[in-house]
Amino acid sequence: MKFTKTLAAAAAMGFALTGVANADSHGETVQAGFIYVGPVGDLGWSYQHDQGRQAVEAEFGDMVETSFVESVPEGADAERVMSQMARSGVDIIFTTSFGYMDPTIAAAESFPDVRFEHATGYKRVENVSTYSARFYEGRYVIGEIAGAMTKSNKIGYIASFPIPEVVRGINAAYLAAKSVNPDVEFKVVWVYTWFDPGKEADAANALIEQGVDVIMQHTDSPAAMTIAEEKGIYAFGQATDMSNFGPTAQLTAIIDDWNPYYIERVKAVMDGTWESTDTWHGIADGMVAFAPMSDAMPADVAARAEATIAAIAAGEFHPFTGPLNKQDGSVWLAEGEVADDGTLAGMNFYVEGVDGELPN
């Protein structure tokens, strides 16, 4: 026992000596913390948020110090990690997954001087902002491409959790595919995970066996892209450019570009102008971007995609424009009516024509 005590003391001393350098790192620099649901090496969602963190470092250099914790489960552990980060003296914490919502609010109550930024949630308090991207705009664009590119008229969709964010994506993609190909059919597989390459690959294989020849995904790993490349079908990159995994399979990718937003919010902390806001940016603000269109796409398909991107960016076109019915046949939007953000934010129904039931 005595031996372990001595060792503990030695270790403590080692820490004390180097700890001094860590302790006085406050002062003028702003410290920004990031919490990721997956590993930064997921090459998807968390990777892209970490690109944003690196962009903040590149922008502000010595004036900022960043840190992150990866693979934090969305349950009870999240609040502890946030609290510990707050206690270590960070000024602003980005919590980058929907499931961090209640933990973020709870941590924000305990640390009123720390500013929090919660991605994709809907609860705000004085020191919690929310932000998200209008991914459904991107989904509409790739839906059009998928509808044009499918030969079997069957499009596969690997879905994570039946939350409004994901349902909105399925609806947008379906409406778009249907608009260019009336015979199109969607096959949705729910995998109940954001990141599990094994499950995602299984889902991709199952879809291909059902005759699907274009795959979309709302999960974070490039597993499905790898399978698509192997089997010689098409797929779309999710969150980031996945062409390394599917050089011929990737038609394009929806890219989540958090860089400008993260830079803007850290700047606000530096300037003392930060306040709680709700941001929902889309193609127009650059938060939703695209990887280059693949050469496999006929020129007219690529041109239509570019035209749709331009129309959404200019505000001339909204993916959810009436007349639209819900899956049960009831009227949702009248002719020319555009969906309001409130309904979109809580979307828990399929639009007319989508097969299958929402898990309920």
Binding site: A11, G14, E70, R87, P164
Partner: protein
């Protein structure tokens, strides 16, 4: 050269020294790993092993994390002593949270001190009944309880997904698949008992049950039968022990303990049922049970040490920019050394001159 030689008797000294040896070996090898990564090994080891036990906030979080592990491991260890291998504690944990949570949600709006105890009873029953499925299949058809209990974890996970999208969904939650927050509702929230140490009502129940397990195994006839069944099933049968009873009791106790742990997690740290409510306590508890040598006191220590490395690991990530994978390697190293050094209990190292 060195040779391993069997000891006439398992060494008592080694039984207690090997865990310490394992921790020291992990510190040395882990330190070398951190050094190779360009991270100060003293800082890293301090954060992983010592900081969780010295800082008051970390200490309070330590028990929040350790309590469910210890409670589940305690239940499992009783079965493991009898050779009843319940690998599905994660499923029983989920079923306990669903059953207890459902009671709390059904009584939403009522008040009274009796609500939380009622939820606890429902949770223990839910967990125990879920564990009765492998028990009955084992007793009636000799089905392998390892496989059945493990497969039922996935059934429980899917049932949870159905529940939070269906009947247990928060009606004011904008359609998101999650229940109301039970930790933010006075009658269903787990009260703190000793705040500075993070010991809540669940922690107190855990300690009481741990003491009961100790009594059961050391003093009670049933404890003797359980140990006898594990050590020599034939002798147990001759002594009149009914194997069916032992299987049912062991699975029942471990299921009830896991179910209770699920409820405490739900009404305490987690607050609400969501699809990713289970984070693997049921599986990690198997490690805790064996680290603690299937002994109640050992399990208490093992649970605290393992929880400490989790909490220290999170801190080390942002304080030292240590990747999450390095922390996992470090934890794996500790288990590896622990199991590896176990050979010293039954064998000793001899130098042989040729």
């Amino acid at each position: 050269m060195l040779r391993l030689e069997q000891r006439p008797q398992p060494s008592k000294t080694m039984l207690y020294i090997t865990p310490i040896l394992a921790v020291l070996a992990t510190m040395v090898l882990g330190g070398a790993l951190f050094l190779a990564m360009g991270i100060n090994p003293f800082d890293a080891i301090y954060l992983l092993f010592i900081d969780p036990f010295t800082d008051s906030y970390n200490l309070s979080q330590l028990f929040v994390k350790a309590s469910p592990l210890i409670l589940i491991a305690m239940g499992l260890s009783i079965g493991f002593r009898a050779g009843v291998w319940n690998i599905g504690a994660e499923g029983q944990f989920i079923m306990g949270a669903i059953s207890g949570g459902a009671v709390g949600l059904a009584l939403w709006g009522s008040t009274g001190w009796w609500i939380l105890p009622l939820m606890a009873v429902a949770a223990a029953l839910g967990g125990a009944l879920w564990a009765m499925i492998p028990a009955v299949l084992k007793i009636r058809f000799n089905a392998n309880e390892i496989l059945v209990s493990l497969m039922l974890v996935y059934v429980a996970e899917n049932l949870l997904a159905q529940m939070v999208q269906g009947v247990l969904r928060n009606p004011e939650g904008m359609g998101f698949p999650e229940s109301r927050n039970l930790a933010r509702n006075e009658p269903t929230a787990l009260p703190d008992v000793f705040d500075p140490l993070g010991i809540d009502a669940g922690g107190v129940v855990m300690l009481v049950l741990l003491a009961a397990a100790f009594f059961l195994l050391q003093k009670h006839a049933m404890g003797f039968q359980i140990k006898l069944t594990g050590e020599s099933p034939r002798a147990a049968r001759f002594a009149g022990v009914k194997p069916g009873v032992i299987i049912a009791v062991c699975l029942g106790i471990s299921g009830a303990a896991a179910g209770l742990a699920g409820l405490f997690e739900l009404t305490g740290a987690a607050g609400k049922l969501t699809i990713d409510f289970p984070v693997g306590y049921g599986f990690t508890a198997i490690i805790v049970a064996f680290l603690g040598r299937l002994n109640p006191v050992g399990i208490l220590l093992a649970g605290v040490v393992l929880a400490g490395t989790y909490i220290g690991g999170e801190n080390a990530q942002f304080a030292l920019k240590l990747p999450a994978a390095a922390v996992t390697v470090f934890q794996g190293m500790m288990l590896f050394f622990l199991l590896g050094f176990e050979i010293l209990i039954n064998y000793r190292v001899r130098r042989v001159v040729r």
